[in-house]
């Protein structure tokens, strides 16, 4: 009985999905709007940054965010992004359409050319980062306050889940790798883990507090990788640098032609770059696949007609749902991989004599 009800509900939902698309296509055909879809544009619009935050069920409404730019003459300008909506110009600034600065704020100079100002706007992604940081702060302090208040008592519910993750990352990963130095570097590594995990998961939520493709953005992962790079090399021991510039290999490999040194030096930079690309590509790829599966409806619709597009709907929804679930897993794995690799890089820079 229960199974039958579930099946009926599922069929109704699928039928509504298909009908919904057909109805929308019909409507747009009548109103004379172009039914053409440009998948590339949609994908990059969703993956990229923007100056406002979309609101569900509306194409035009955006939550306005502050734009902060430094004009060519060195003066700073700050205003809400709502003033630039629909291509409007404000204070000499507007959002470029097409060209080198597509979808970016540009200053229109008196001669009509576009100047890209220094842009410290609180864009959608920046706001997303702040939200993620705030959430991490709340979660970590929840655990800390539990310990402050309840001492040795075991936490319950959400706090217990958080503590489990902290324990997993710290006790099972950082401590075995770092050994005695674990407490010194654990705060950084745990912060990285929770920050990345939160950003990853927020990116999977499609409406307001989430939806910003944070870790799928090269700037974000580059900063994270850069910090790991700095921590690794600034805390490296003498022995680490000696290994780098005078490794224990046959002299022929290092003396006249500094072969080993070049390789080692190259390795210093490839490690963080690999970190950066790995996280970026995984998260961006996941998002992209989800969007592409959804777009299949419209692509099929425009290619073979509305009926086919409608029929595609259940399949598309099922596939992107599957991808989203997979992305939840990937979110955790990538956050963990970034953390464990950072841990290893840092601990490798802490080699001591006779401790190979």
């Amino acid at each position: 009985m229960k199974k039958a009800i579930t099946a009926i509900i599922a069929v109704v939902i699928i039928a509504l999905m298909a009908l919904g698309y057909a109805e929308a296509a019909h409507h747009s055909a009548h109103s004379g709007e172009s039914a053409e879809v440009n998948p590339q544009e949609i994908i990059f619009e969703h993956l990229g940054d923007s100056y406002g935050w979309e609101v569900p069920f509306s194409h035009s409404k955006r939550i306005p965010l502050p734009v902060i730019v430094r004009a060519q003459d060195g003066s700073w300008h700050a205003f809400m992004s709502s003033r630039l909506a629909d291509g409007a110009q404000y204070d000499g600034f507007q959002i470029a359409k097409g060209g080198d600065y597509n979808n970016k704020v540009v200053q229109v100079l008196p001669d009509g050319s576009q100047y890209r100002p220094v842009d410290l706007s609180i864009t959608k992604n920046v706001a997303g980062i702040f939200i993620a940081a705030l959430l991490v702060l709340l979660m970590v302090f929840k655990v800390r306050n539990w310990y402050k208040k309840n001492g040795m008592k075991a936490p319950r519910r959400f706090t217990a889940a958080l503590e489990l993750v902290v324990d997993f990352v710290y006790t099972d990963t950082i401590r075995p790798i770092m050994g005695k130095e674990a407490p010194k570097y654990a705060p950084y590594l745990l912060t990285v883990f929770f920050f990345i995990l939160t950003m990853n998961l927020l990116g999977l939520i499609v409406i307001f507090p989430g939806g910003a493709n944070l870790t799928g953005n090269l700037a974000v992962t580059a900063v994270l990788a850069l910090i790991t790079f700095l921590v690794t090399n600034l805390t490296g021991t003498k022995h680490y640098w000696k290994e780098m510039f005078w490794p224990e290999v046959p002299t022929a490999l290092k003396c006249p032609v500094p072969l080993m040194q070049v390789i080692e030096l190259f390795g210093i930079f490839t490690k963080p770059i690999a970190l950066m690309i790995r996280l970026f590509a995984n998260m961006m790829g996941g998002h992209m696949v989800v969007i592409v599966f959804m777009l299949l409806i419209f692509i099929f619709g425009s290619m073979f007609g509305t009926a086919v597009g409608g029929a595609m709907t259940p399949l598309s929804v099922a596939l992107s749902l599957f991808m989203l679930l997979l992305d939840v897993l990937v979110s955790f794995i990538q956050a963990y991989v970034f953390t464990i690799l950072s841990t290893m890089f840092i601990s490798m820079a802490h080699v001591h004599e006779h401790a190979e």
Partner: protein, 165 residues
């Protein structure tokens, strides 16, 4: 491709946000959480060790108690057995003594009875002899030829009577 060009503003804010987050958490949260977690892990480990020890002790105590009970039971059985033996011995002894006493009493009685009988016999014999003589005197007073012959005859008769008895 916009996606592959890192935006300076975003990197800037990301850097700021991360540093703030790290600063706050590293100062006020993580060290405390890690310390508490390790303390609790130690506490739990210690608790387990103590519980195991206590269990071992309890097991030992139980074994010891069982041993004590078994010993006590053995002792009790020993005592009971000894008591039974002693009782039997006492009864035997008393019975023997009683039998001896009884035998002594009967022996004494028999001796005195024999004596009494012998005395009575003696008395009887002399009395009967006297009586017979008196009778014979009376008889013979009338018919007396030879007193001594008569007397020997009487004595002979008396012996005959006695043996007959």
């Amino acid at each position: 491709m916009e996606l592959f060009k890192p935006e300076f503003g975003l990197a800037f804010w990301m850097f700021i946000a991360f540093l703030c987050l790290f600063g706050i958490l590293a100062k006020w949260a993580w060290p405390f959480i890690i310390k508490s977690m390790e303390e609790r892990a130690d506490l739990i480990d210690k608790g387990v060790a103590i519980a195991q020890e206590a269990k071992a002790k309890l097991d030992n105590a139980k074994a010891e108690a069982d041993k004590l009970v078994a010993e006590a039971r053995n002792e009790q059985a020993e005592i009971l057995r000894e008591a039974a033996k002693m009782r039997n011995e006492l009864i035997e002894k008393a019975r023997g003594e009683a039998a001896d006493e009884a035998k002594k009493v009967t022996d004494a009685a028999q001796v005195s009875l024999e004596q009494a009988r012998k005395e009575a016999e003696k008395q009887l014999r002399s009395e009967v002899g006297d009586l017979a003589l008196q009778i014979a005197e009376k008889v013979i007073r009338r018919n007396i030829a030879n007193d001594d012959a008569q007397r020997a005859l009487v004595d002979q008769y008396l012996s005959e009577v006695e043996t007959k008895n």
